[in-house]
């Protein structure tokens, strides 16, 4: 089914209510402020990044670690590895709990890849974030609350799609990551008004579907 949501599979959710300070420091946290950790693995890295950002909007949590794994979830190192590990850190376990609830809710009902060719051999991530949280605004260098289109697709589809998105609406590029990446997808972050971001994401998804259905036109 074309553009059917492919809901991310959450492979593990674990809490460390009192993590060792050395571990927190090694994973990029601040042992003075962070004591509790929440760790999640999932088979869609970009949906996870959006969900981690969503968690920072709902609870007093910081995203201290979020990295994609090489070659993606089809070549994972283990049954629970998926394609990304995200780590939330907070001063108290209850904040981690609320952050995890927002994160899992976002993964289940919001952020996901979409089937671009009806056979799930080409997928696209044309996500619109109406209001950036603390994590992605820091990563993007945008003020918290700005709108952003988070666009991901395989290399050729992403290239054609980005051209279509930039021409479709009054958006500017925040960050463009050409292939190869860890998962060998290509990524673009665009910002502008919310309407412009939505128009760009729609044009991007339409272009990716077009390329997927007619790769040699």
């Amino acid at each position: 089914m074309i553009l059917e949501p492919i809901v991310p599979t959450v492979l593990s959710v674990r809490r460390l209510p009192g993590a060792d300070p050395a571990l927190i420091a090694a994973y990029g946290g601040d042992p003075a402020r962070h004591t509790a950790l929440g760790l999640v693995t999932c088979d869609q890295d970009d949906a996870m990044y959006v969900a981690l950002d969503e968690a920072t909007k709902h609870a007093a949590v910081d995203v201290i670690f979020a990295r994609s794994f090489y070659a993606g979830s089809a070549h994972a190192s283990g049954r629970l590895s998926g394609e990304v590990l995200g780590v939330l850190a907070a001063a108290e376990p209850q904040a981690v709990e609320h952050g995890l609830a927002a994160l899992l809710g976002c993964l289940a009902h919001d952020a996901c890849f979409y089937d671009a060719d009806g056979k799930r051999t080409v997928t696209v991530f044309p996500h619109v974030i109406a209001s950036l949280g603390e994590y992605l605004s820091r990563e993007a260098g945008l003020p918290p609350g700005a709108a952003m289109a988070y666009l991901v697709a395989p290399p050729i589809e992403a290239t054609i799609g980005l051209d279509a998105a930039l021409k479709a609406a009054d958006v500017r590029t925040v960050r463009v990551v050409p292939p190869p990446t860890e998962t060998n997808f290509a990524c673009a972050w665009l910002t502008g008004s919310l309407d412009a971001c939505e128009a760009a994401a729609l044009a991007y998804a339409a272009a990716v579907v077009d390329v997927a259905l007619a790769p040699k036109r």
Binding site: H98, A108, A111
Partner: protein
């Protein structure tokens, strides 16, 4: 949560011609409820705190529940704060001054809200009141007494006249002449400068409701100044505060105030230059004070 991106993609999907329905959304994972924590009250154990609390109305030795105050303490605090708010919000009734034998005066303030926001207007007489002072008040008395609402009309109504009569009697007992009794509405302390200047009194004394503290909406203060003139500062004044049943009782305060006024006339000065040491026990000294009992406003 409604996903805007999912709505956009569903619309695009429809536009591309796909008609088959999308699968339903998966159920959200349950959020574990926070553990219930119940704290029991921890009364203050220290005997020293209990003994200290007997001698003050301050909140000492109140114990705690977890990291917070006990409910009874919070309710008492809120009730006392409400008493203070009500006292600030109260106004002296129209005609109160005349009904109690005073010459009624008003300041340049026109409304209660303006009175709270503009202290400067509360320090000067209105034109009509200035005329009333010039025509109806005797000139050249030793002590000019002024009753006023200040920041607590409640206190003025409750004990204003009682304190005035007691002070006037105490002054006359010391051989001092007392001017025509006046009562001012919307008045600040410095109003005594203008009234004293116009009546030519040697000493002006204003008795007015003081800014309420917790549970003390009925306190009066008395400010005394020698040779009242516009432009006198607080350094030229002597004062007694907390004139109410649980502080300095009005009768005791009246004796001290009369002693202050007599000393000012004798030393021809007031404020920081007045030698209080020569007054000795007449102003109260630092004698024994009976243990204070906090008035319970709430039973919880």
């Amino acid at each position: 949560m409604v996903s805007r991106t999912r709505q956009l993609m569903a619309a695009l999907r429809e536009a591309l011609g796909a008609a088959d329905p999308l699968p339903p959304l998966p159920a959200l994972p349950p959020v574990p409820a926070p553990p219930a924590r119940v704290y029991s009250p921890r009364p203050e154990k220290s005997a020293f705190a209990a003994e200290a609390a007997r001698h003050t109305t301050a909140l000492l030795g109140i114990g705690h529940v977890g990291t917070r105050y006990a409910t009874a303490v919070v309710l008492q605090f809120q009730a006392e704060l409400a008493v203070a708010h009500a006292a600030v919000g109260a106004e002296l009734p129209d005609g109160w001054a005349e009904a109690h034998g005073f010459v009624g005066l008003t300041t340049r303030v026109t409304s209660h809200r303006e009175f709270l926001l503009r202290p400067d207007l509360g320090r000067r007489l209105s034109d009509a009141s200035l005329e009333a002072v010039r025509t109806r008040c005797t000139r050249g008395a030793d002590v000019q007494l002024i009753v006023a609402d200040g920041l607590s009309a409640v206190a003025c109504v409750q004990t204003g006249q009682q304190l005035h009569d007691a002070v006037a009697a105490a002054c006359r007992a010391r051989g001092l002449s007392v001017g025509t009794p006046v009562a001012a509405r919307f008045a600040r302390v410095w109003l005594e400068d203008e009234i004293g200047q116009e009546t030519g009194a040697k000493v002006a004394m204003i008795l007015l409701g003081e800014r309420p503290g917790l549970g003390t909406g009925d306190g009066l203060s008395a400010y005394v100044v020698h040779e009242p003139r516009l432009g006198k500062t607080d350094g030229d004044r002597n004062m007694i505060s907390n004139i109410h049943a649980r502080g300095t009782p009005p009768d005791e305060a009246a004796a001290r105030l009369a002693a202050l006024a007599a000393a000012m006339i004798e030393q021809r000065t007031s404020g920081v230059t007045l030698d209080l040491a020569r007054l000795g026990e007449a102003t109260g000294g630092r004698g024994y004070r009976a243990p204070q009992v906090r008035q319970r406003l709430v039973n919880a």
